[in-house]
């Protein structure tokens, strides 16, 4: 296992002194060479989990091991072997692209003889070779993100932590980064990637762990999760609010999960709808039929309402 978390709890004190568990009994394993997508709504504990793995946050309970090292006691050793791409952009704006990479190559103990080569390789990964002498402050948002990723890869780590790698980016830039992450996976690098973009997880992750309220509530490959929690097909019904409520009632009495999808109600596991119920649900209205997806799983398991 590249990463093992067992019954991990991390509590924070609120301003008024009440304790809040950001991570609350988290158990998670990431096998070597796998890309695991950590899914969950904001506040589910994804970023805290990332900080626990680098020992920038210290667990109150439970055990953590990363690449054979106990965290936090051997965290420095583990950190030397992993690359971290944080959610917040913390590039050194005053330095050039190359200098940003050089500083971290040193921090990661890249031997002097291979330093130049490592930085050049990172520049290539980030497609910033032509901008090597530009100051980070003058880069576009997409370039900054790529540099941030390249900075975490400058020492060719065996494990990479990506915290929301594409949040707030244009679709083109996002696609670029997806290519980069897919490349890592192809090279056998273990990747733990937190995201709340379902599509990102579906495209890149070998397996997903769905987090809610600080713990994993479901895990498996995207296909397994969909099959288990949303079934095969989904029917989306339109109509005024009271009709939507009626559909929800009918479906739930038949044991079928539903979710609101904007102005429609989606009935999951639609392949199990008996013909009699199908007619009652449709009732002459328009129905859109589609394949179940990971987003259906996400909403069904983490709840419809945003806290």
């Amino acid at each position: 296992m590249a990463i093992t978390l067992r019954d991990v709890v991390k509590r924070y004190s609120d301003r008024d002194g009440t304790q809040i568990a950001a991570v609350d009994g988290l158990t998670l394993e990431v096998p070597a060479g796998m890309c695991l997508g950590l899914l969950g709504p904001n506040g589910a504990g994804k970023s805290t989990t990332m900080r626990l793995l680098t020992a920038q946050s210290r667990a109150d309970e439970g055990t953590i091991r990363v690449l054979g090292h106990d965290i936090p006691s051997e965290a420095k050793q583990a950190r030397a072997l992993m690359g971290v791409v944080p959610q917040t952009d913390n590039l050194d704006e005053e330095l050039t692209v190359r200098q940003n990479l050089e500083v971290f190559a040193r921090l990661y103990r890249v031997p002097r003889a291979g330093l130049r080569e490592a930085v050049d390789r990172a520049l290539e990964i980030a497609q910033l070779t032509g901008r090597a002498e530009a100051r980070a402050v003058n880069l576009s948002g997409g370039m900054r993100r790529r540099l941030l990723v390249a900075r975490g890869l400058v020492h060719s780590p065996r494990l990479v932590l990506l915290d929301e790698p594409t949040v707030g980016l244009d679709p083109q830039v996002r696609a670029d980064l997806w290519g980069l992450i897919a490349g890592l996976r192809a090279d056998g690098v273990t990747v733990l990637m937190s995201t709340h973009y379902i599509e990102e997880a579906e495209r890149l992750a070998d397996a997903c762990a769905l987090m809610s309220h600080g713990r994993v509530i479901a895990n498996g490959t995207p296909a397994e999760l969909i099959a288990e929690h949303a079934g095969d097909r989904v029917e989306e019904h339109e109509g005024p609010p009271d009709r939507l409520a009626e559909i929800e009632g009918l479906a739930r009495r038949a044991g079928l999960p539903t979710r609101r999808t904007g102005p429609t109600v989606s009935v999951l596991r639609a392949e199990r709808i008996p013909p009699s119920l199908g007619e009652a649900l449709t009732n002459g209205h328009r129905v859109v039929r589609r394949a179940a997806n990971l987003e259906d799983v996400f909403v069904v398991l983490t709840g419809e309402t945003v806290e």
Partner: protein, 260 residues
């Protein structure tokens, strides 16, 4: 990278900080040099000639020599404590630089060592410029002047660490006003820079004894005009003790702010 054992204290993070600072210094060294030469020149012109024409000699020294050696210590104070406070505060809270560094194989005490050592060496060297300026005003130093950079560097290390510690205590960047007016200004004035501490009331003389800057002023003056071995060992000891205490506070404060 390789699985070699990492020690509790490693030099790589310190070199990383220096690499960054040297890259930046390549850009701003001209303005730093300008300030470090022009400022003591103005002090010496204003106090040396202004006051000097009134007082002539103080504590056995020409007044211009007295001030020329005194402002070395205040330069060491201000060029270390301000970067210690503001740079580390900005890097921690606005730029999140330390979060990035601590995700690499770097521990908090190594970050503090890197920041403080850079500030100390830079400040220690630049704060010697008043001596050079004073030469132009007729200062004739003894051979001890060559070790002045050692004293200024130790002083600057202490105040850089004090600044780093202060940056972990203040709730916001505006709160530095309390530190500047409430702590630094009195330290600066009751150190024997512009007037001898000996002429102050008893309580102020006592206060000067716990002012690290006073010990730096004395050391620099003695280095230039002749050491008083026993007293100077005491002064140096006070500066080292101050730096050691500030190191402990700075590391603890930064750890509290960066690791949760």
């Amino acid at each position: 990278m390789s699985d070699t054992r990492l020690r509790r204290f490693e030099w790589a993070p310190v070199r990383g900080v220096w690499r960054r600072e040297l890259a930046l210094f390549g850009r701003y060294w001209t303005s730093t040099s300008f300030a470090s030469i022009v400022e003591p020149t103005i002090y010496l012109l204003a106090f040396g000639f202004g006051f000097g024409s009134l007082v002539g000699h103080v504590a056995g020294y020409r007044y211009v020599d007295f001030v020329g050696t005194g402002v070395v210590a205040s330069a060491a104070l201000f060029t270390s404590v301000f970067p210690g406070m503001f740079n580390t505060y900005i890097r921690r809270t606005y730029q999140h630089s330390y979060d990035a560094v601590l995700a690499a194989p770097v521990d908090v005490h190594e970050v503090v060592a890197g920041e403080a050592s850079w500030i100390a060496v830079k400040s220690g060297l630049f704060s010697c410029t008043p001596v050079l300026v004073a030469l132009a005003f007729g200062l004739r130093p003894g051979p001890g002047v060559l070790v002045v950079p050692v004293f200024t560097t130790v002083t600057a290390a202490g105040f850089a660490l004090f600044g780093i510690w202060a940056s972990t205590v203040v709730p916001s960047i505006n709160s530095f006003d309390y530190v500047i007016s409430g702590v630094l200004t009195p330290l600066f004035l009751v150190a024997g820079t512009f007037f001898p501490v000996g002429g102050l009331p008893g309580w102020a003389r006592m206060a000067a004894q716990v002012n690290p800057l006073y010990h730096c002023v004395e050391l620099v003056r003695h280095a230039v005009f002749g050491f008083r071995p026993l007293a100077d060992l005491g002064h140096l000891g006070a500066l080292v003790l101050f730096a050691a205490l500030m190191w402990a506070l700075a590391v603890r404060g930064m750890r509290r702010r960066l690791i949760d």
